[in-house]
Amino acid sequence: METEAKTGLKIIINDRELKANGDETILELAKNNNIYIPTLCHHSDLCLKGVCRICLVEIEGQNILHAACSTPVAENMIICTNTEKVRKARKMVIELLLANHYGDCLTCKRNLNCELQKLAAEYNIEEIRFKKPKEKRYKIETVTPIVRDNDKCILCRRCIRVCEKIQGVEAIKPLYRGKESSIGCLYNLDLGEITCVMCGQCINHCPTGALTEKDATKDAWKALDNPAKHVIVQTAPSIRVALAEEFNIPPGIAVTGKMIAALREIGFNAIFDTDFTADLLIVEESFEFLTKLKKSYYDNENISLPMFTSCCPSWINFIEHYYPDLLSHLSTCKSPQQMFGALAKTYYANKAGISPEDMVSISIMPCTAKKFEANRAEMSHNGYKNVDYVLTTREFARMIKQSGLNLMELQDSEYDQSMGISTGAGLIFGATGGVTEGILRTVYELVTGNDVPFNELDITPARGMEGIREISIKINNPLENWKFLDDFEIKIAVAHGLANARNLMDKIRDGTANYHFIEIMACPGGCIGGGGQPIPTNESIRKSRANTIYSEEKIVQIRKSHENPALKRLYEEFLENPLGETSKKLLHTFYT
């Protein structure tokens, strides 16, 4: 009865009569009608909270002001978003926040991209009428790749909500109350001492500079400035579709060529593509998967199925912390970043005649957990770290700016040959479902000799932003060696956002899920929505980035990893066989 009455409500905002369907908040209705209401604690990815009280509006007939973000519209509501009372209250709230915000805008990483700064400018805060703290009250936490500076925190709790609701991790929480209120970890421990997975989503959702990534640009510059060092760089698939946003270009523009040109200008000695080792991972993991299927269904061995992907370092942290009993399900493949690093200091070093000692391997990643991954003890070979330094998209953009380059005006350039050739399958790694799609294209062909039965190789059920997606493919007419798979249905699940992963893992644990292969990406949308990507990131931006990856993939000539000519050469010259001895030594690992 109530829902029926709610449809087609009449609401007036600022003398404009608007139609509402009844389930939106005042803020949503205003937004849909191009009426601007400032916000801080609100983020379109997150559940509503109503803590900051910036979005106050006046509702006729009510003495108090209401937070537009958390007040649902109601029939005949008359709302004013721009009265003296509202402006004064908002200004007061901003002043209160600024009075408790200690830090210098000029030396803040979020300078010019800070929501608090923007509001202070909008509301023309000429003086803060309240006393500000004279010195730092909190120590800056730099143990992990995620740097926390509570002096800049405005307690909007976006970090807490993304950590809890989207990632299902709950590493950070509101602590204490009243005057002592702060955000932190249980028992006030450091992030490094608790079950933080270092995905960086908190950074991506922070409106201020309270959460930032640990800077690696200084290390990168030091290497570049040292003429004795041969500095090589790899760029992850998702960087090219997001980088331009750091230069005020709307989301959804791929700048692959310009990005490579910028890297050349900056002075990297060799510029390679992580897509290449994404292809390599697909081939290795496809063989691994098929081996497992064979052992399980032909040799009747007791094999841990489903097999889980292992390319996302936050996911690895998550499963190590929360589902250690399921570790045997993980693929042994290192991530493309680490495979690349391992090959760079062996295969490439050999080819180019450079000693790995003189080489610095840098990667540009959409991710803060990659910084952690690169430092893991198991990620080195012969005493050399596979990857020396990891830069996020944001750090990379800062380096471009420091170099005085205008990204959008650079002439397109191309990756260097030996490890710069890649296929479409490697490229779509950057979006959730991409690994699955790449692996299915290869697995299906290995087993049947034919293309996957999807129009133009587009495995559409693997794509999209649904939290958990299921794909099943029936094997028809397999080749002689795979006869046991005739009519076999491969069942796959794809999840992104660790809360969704948790859902799946619980089902695996209690035996209620029946899959053969599971792809997990920690961040919503996969790497295109990674914690190291440009801020802001939200659902519509993630969709634009993903769409761009898929449209870029369409124009790539080779779209199956196993057809990558550079990869074939790699196997011929160096690795010999997938899952061969060299492969196992360099490209595979184990987790604890």
């Binding site: 803590v51 009280r53 108090i64 649902p72 709230v93 009075a99 009428r129 509101p174 109350r177």
Partner: protein
């Protein structure tokens, strides 16, 4: 001037339940609505309408919660009611449960009242033995039982949505409203939350009838304390003159009276001939009396410290605002002068806190500062 509807009327346990269970549900809600019974807490929302909202929702997975998290300084009426009139309270809750079609009652008890829990449980067990609680109460097709849950010590959990969060095992912080608890409360089920006093009036209404209740509806229960001989709870007619009240409780050499709790109004001698509700009755229900030996500046600073500490830290105006107000009070108390302009800023802040805070804590705490300001800068100059 003083009445005794709850405190010591002739009362026989079970009369009201028997009567209520013989009526149909809507009839009881109509009676409560018509009686004009209102929440005795910070809000004065109609109890009957609250019950009706929950009753209109389908199913019986609903909760009746008694808010016994009495944390306001100077308030102790719930404590006395719990100690001496728990049967009346339970009877009120059973009737509420029957009216909204709920089988579950929870008494959310202030952590500091843990000492009385054992005794309360004993008394409730007795009621169960007498068939007033449990399955098929008094042979009717109606089940209802009550459990006690303890607060963990935060003042904010007296706010109904924070109370629910706390019951669910979460950090005590206010929820966004709507949805109101009557629609989505404890465990997302329809929930009515009333305080101890409100539930205690219910048996009276059912037994004595609406007309009888209305005759005395201008009465409120006050916790009276401070510099007086007979600190206690009193059921007082709101038209009672303050001076008469002071006589009743044996207060002498009175300097000022704080009506309505820490966030209420300070009244000075020149207004003692006025009725206690002459400024519109403030939210709380305590009356604190101060004699001439007291330093009001220190008292109000103490109240402000209470709010700074008890703000849950959730919304900006309350978390940050209270701190600023306290800082100013401390400065003035130290004898430092504060520029007029800054005082104006703080008064603006106090007004904005009242309008923009998320819950009633932040909306009322600034009153302590306003009281302080009046004493310090207006016609209430007392000095030390």
């Amino acid at each position: 001037m003083e009445r005794k509807r709850i405190l010591s009327r002739d009362y026989k346990i079970g009369n009201a339940i028997t009567e209520a269970l013989s009526c149909n549900r809507t009839n009881i809600i109509e009676q409560i609505k018509d009686s004009g019974l209102k929440g005795k807490c910070r809000t004065d929302f109609s109890t009957g309408i609250k019950w009706e909202l929950a009753a209109n929702l389908p199913g019986n997975n609903k909760y009746v919660i008694c808010n016994a998290d009495e944390g306001e300084p100077g308030t102790f009426k719930s404590r006395i009611l719990l100690q001496n009139h728990i049967e009346t309270l339970i009877e009120g809750m059973i009737i509420a449960g029957y009216a909204i079609n709920s089988n579950n009652g929870i008494i959310y008890l202030r952590a500091e009242y843990r000492w009385m829990l054992k005794d309360l449980i004993k008394k409730v067990d007795k009621l169960r033995e007498k068939d007033f609680l449990g399955k098929n109460i008094l042979g009717k097709n109606f089940d209802f039982d009550i459990e006690f849950r303890l607060n963990a010590g935060a003042y904010i959990c007296g706010e109904e949505t924070s109370l629910i969060e706390s019951l669910e095992g979460k950090r005590g912080e206010p929820r966004n409203k709507p949805p109101y608890p009557t629609e989505k409360g404890y465990l997302d089920c329809p929930t009515i939350i009333n305080n101890v006093e409100t539930f205690c009036y219910v048996p009276y209404i059912i037994n004595e009838g609406i007309e009888e209740f209305k005759k005395t509806s201008n009465t409120k229960l006050f916790s009276v304390s401070g510099d007086c001989e007979r600190a206690d709870i009193y059921e007082i007619d709101l038209n009672t003159k303050i001076i008469d009240l002071l006589g009743l409780i044996g207060a002498k050499d009175t300097k000022s009276v704080l009506i309505g709790g820490t966030s209420g109004i300070v009244i000075s001698e020149k207004d003692f001939d006025k009725p206690i509700n002459y400024k519109g009755l403030p939210a709380g229900s305590s009356i604190i009396v101060f004699n001439n030996s007291r330093n009001m500046r220190k008292i109000l600073k103490n109240f402000m410290e209470f709010f700074v500490e008890e703000s849950c830290g959730h919304c900006t105006p309350c978390r940050e605002g209270n701190i600023k107000l306290l800082e100013a009070i401390e400065k003035i108390n130290k004898g430092d002068s504060i520029p007029d302009k800054y005082i104006q800023t703080l008064l603006e802040l106090a007004e904005i806190m009242k309008m923009s805070s998320k819950c009633s804590l932040g909306r009322s705490s600034a009153n302590s500062f306003i009281n302080f300001y009046k004493i310090e800068y207006r016609d209430y100059i007392y000095g030390n």
